[in-house]
Amino acid sequence: MTQAVPPILSVTPSRALVDEKFQVLVENLPPGCPVTLRSLHRSEDEDDWEAYGHYVSDHRGVVSVSEDLSFGGMYTGKEPMGLLWSMRPVPGSRKGLRLRKINVCTPMLVNISVHSGHEGFRDRTPLASALAERWYMAPGVKRIDINKQGVQGTLFIPPGPGPFPALLDMWGGGAGLLEYRSALLASRGYVSFSLDYLRSEHLSADVEFKYFETAFNIIRNHPQVIPDRVGILGSSLGSMVAFNLTAYSTIIKPRCIVCISSNHYHPPGTTLKAGFKILSNRTNDLSKINCPMLLVNGCDDQNWPTVETVARLLREGGKEHLLSRLAYPGAGHLIEPPFSPHFRATKFIILNSKEKVILLWGGHTKPHSDAQEDSWRKILSFLQLHLYHSPSVKANL
């Protein structure tokens, strides 16, 4: 075998958490050589997802995805993480797919390869490839199934003795129990409880306000949790729950809340189904909220009308100083942890009717992905300030 030695592709780090960046480098190419960098991932549902960018090597025969511009493909320009966030199902796939990891104990495997040329690159065997592992769980994070006092969900605990600040983590409808955000939050130092509250048996039993209060207290009373440093993070419907709990509960006092893609002031009853009893009689009175609040929204959110008068409502209630807002132009509804592929529309099963529809979530891929990266960093920084910040040096709010 005396073939020429091929180019060298490296991905650094090769094992990382999903919110960490990596550097993709190709070396040993001829100078000025057109190549395509491609990512390929087989999901748990056995669908193939890919992204690619067209590059040209410099005079040293190097392509650096972090430094160089992509001339075309699924993304253009200087995009260090484009090979992840611009992923789409490969041509010929089923429609309306969404990429969400269910088993968070194993990493997401992404194969990164380099192919010669731009057009028709897929027809050619890759010149080189490397495998990257993307983890939701840092080493030492513990995953615990919770089924206690009628409350169900999954708890993630960071490594170390603790005690830790904690979060009650709630998603919206249409996906079952999602653990990956809580796993990632635990990897960032928070005990995080992904609460299961939208299963049909819960609804038929009329989800009570009490269910959420009990869940919050289970976290609060956990031996590795600092009881007065428990916050709530909710997205979509989960953020509605977060608002209501924070405003109306007399039992629980979250230290801060983060609401992603919420529509807290939408008139009750028009989009909410009968089973959502907890929400049907509330008027979403923001003036009752007494803790710092971070609202994250995409301005192109097609699923819920955008939040436009939050500041006014809070100001009226004298609570504007508690609010931080992040409103991202061009971003849609599903604001996920960074580098996740963007979904403008996906399949969705409406809870009560079991109807299968395609829901338009909105957003355009590039601004949406930028929003995911920026919002995650700001969410972590908000949580760090309010849940980790030492009381003895805390500035007066």
Binding site: M1, Q3, A4, I8, R15, E20, L25, Q384
Partner: protein
């Protein structure tokens, strides 16, 4: 007395890395000016516990960044980004003469890094840390394939990088202790070299017949590697440490079959009976066993066995006949082999023969014999058993920890660049900048 701080945040980035990658250890949210101890704890495969620690003072923002701030004292001092790994040593009360070597390289080395209140030096097991994280250190990158090789009577393991290939090949040899040592080959495969770790002293063949292998064994390994569909047969190098150096030079110079593109010889010598078999070469060293010295701790010093460097050319591998680039790595405090004296003689021989343009010598003051991949804890001495001697001896390897650790880091980077240049034909590689 500091009251116990709450919510001190410790992070290590990356939390999963290759053995030769750097990490950043960060403490945040501590009380400004507070005294803290950062400690690493690792339990190795044979159950022994190893620890390292540094004493720090949080700055005005309550932060400690191990890659920027100095450790005042501990198992390392000064600004030492990776001190928590390379200064690992057996916990007090451990058996003497331990050396850290991972056998199962398919699982990571797990290190628990914790931060404690105050400047602690002992009794960590009885203290509750303020915070702790787990870090994984891997010899194998994702996608690297481990393939046991028994073809042709070999006892070897091939590590293939991920991807279609073809890849340049590497034959990896360790020293007189024998066994099949895989970790360096696994790590080299993680950097794009199809690497075969070879057991040439305690192979299945030797254990069953009592006979030592000879040239043919190495030539078979070379052929198996060369003929592998994912190996570029015209680009094969050899890397040897200690007695492995003797084998590497022997094959590079005298084998009709093996045609190397490059050779790396660490902590070894060219002194050997020319055209001697493996057994004869071992026997030659044994003959001089009487020159063994012992230091005040009764640790065996074997460097004199090959000294003085002979003038008789039949006792030295003829390096003047080498046709491939040679990288020599030398610890100047090597107490086990006379690597420095040998390197000087090799240099002279090659100058006389006119091939010194092939030679590069990396010589490190105060580094010892065991020049391992970076951040491997330094063992100045450890219990050792060669295949010739039946009992364990406390062997003095040499080296001062700080300088030895720096040498490991520097040598490894240079070995990777050397292999890259000679096997991949690249210039100025940038992908090693994170190491």
């Amino acid at each position: 007395m500091d009251r116990k701080q709450c919510c001190v945040k410790l992070s290590v980035q990356p939390s999963r890395g290759l053995m030769d990658e750097k990490f950043i250890v960060l403490v945040q949210n501590a009380l400004p000016g507070s005294q803290l101890t950062i400690r690493a704890l690792h339990q190795c495969e044979d159950g022994h516990s190893w620890e390292a620690f540094g004493h720090y003072t949080a700055d005005t923002t309550g932060t400690i960044n191990v890659s920027e701030d100095p450790s005042i004292r501990g198992t390392y001092s000064g600004v030492e980004q990776m001190g928590l790994l390379w200064s690992l040593r057996p916990i007090p009360g451990s058996k003497p003469g331990l050396r850290m070597r991972k056998k199962n390289i398919q699982t990571p080395m797990e290190v628990t890094i914790s931060v404690y209140q105050g400047h602690q030096t002992e009794g960590f097991a009885d203290l509750v840390p303020l915070s702790g994280v787990v870090v994984e250190r891997w010899y194998m990158a994702p996608g690297v394939r481990r393939i046991p090789v028994t073809e042709g009577g070999l006892t070897a393991t091939l590590f293939l990088p991920s991807g279609p290939g073809p890849f340049p090949g590497l034959l990896d040899l360790w020293g007189g202790g024998g066994q099949l040592v895989e970790y360096r080959a696994a790590l080299l495969a993680s950097h794009g070299f199809a690497s075969m770790a070879i057991d040439y002293l305690t192979s299945k063949f030797t254990m069953e017949t009592g006979k030592m292998v000879d040239n043919q064994y190495f030539e078979t390994a070379y052929r198996v590697l060369q003929q592998h569909p994912q190996v570029c047969g015209s680009k094969i190098a050899m890397i040897g440490l200690s007695f492995g150096t003797s084998m590497t030079l022997k094959m590079a110079i005298y084998s009709e079959v093996i045609k190397l593109s490059a050779a790396v010889c660490i902590s070894g010598s060219h002194v050997q009976p020319v055209e001697g078999s493996v057994e004869e070469i071992m026997g030659f060293f044994q003959k001089n066993a009487g020159k063994t010295r012992f230091n005040e701790k009764n640790e065996a010093i074997w460097r004199d066995l090959l000294l003085p460097i002979p003038t008789d050319p039949s006792l030295k591998a003829d390096v003047g006949r080498l046709q491939c680039p040679l990288l020599l790595v030398v610890g100047e405090d090597d107490q086990n082999w006379p690597a420095q004296e040998s390197a000087l003689d090799i240099k002279e021989m090659m100058a006389r023969a006119g091939n010194s343009h092939l030679l590069t010598v990396l010589s490190y003051p105060n580094a010892g014999h065991l020049i391992e991949p970076p951040y491997t804890p330094h063992a100045r001495s450890s219990t050792f058993k060669t295949v010739e001697i039946q009992e364990k001896v406390m062997c003095l390897w040499g080296g001062q920890t700080v300088e030895h650790s720096r040498a490991q880091e520097d040598a490894w980077k240079k070995i990777l660049v050397f292999l890259r240049e000679n096997l991949y034909g690249g210039r100025n590689p940038t992908s090693f900048s994170h190491l």
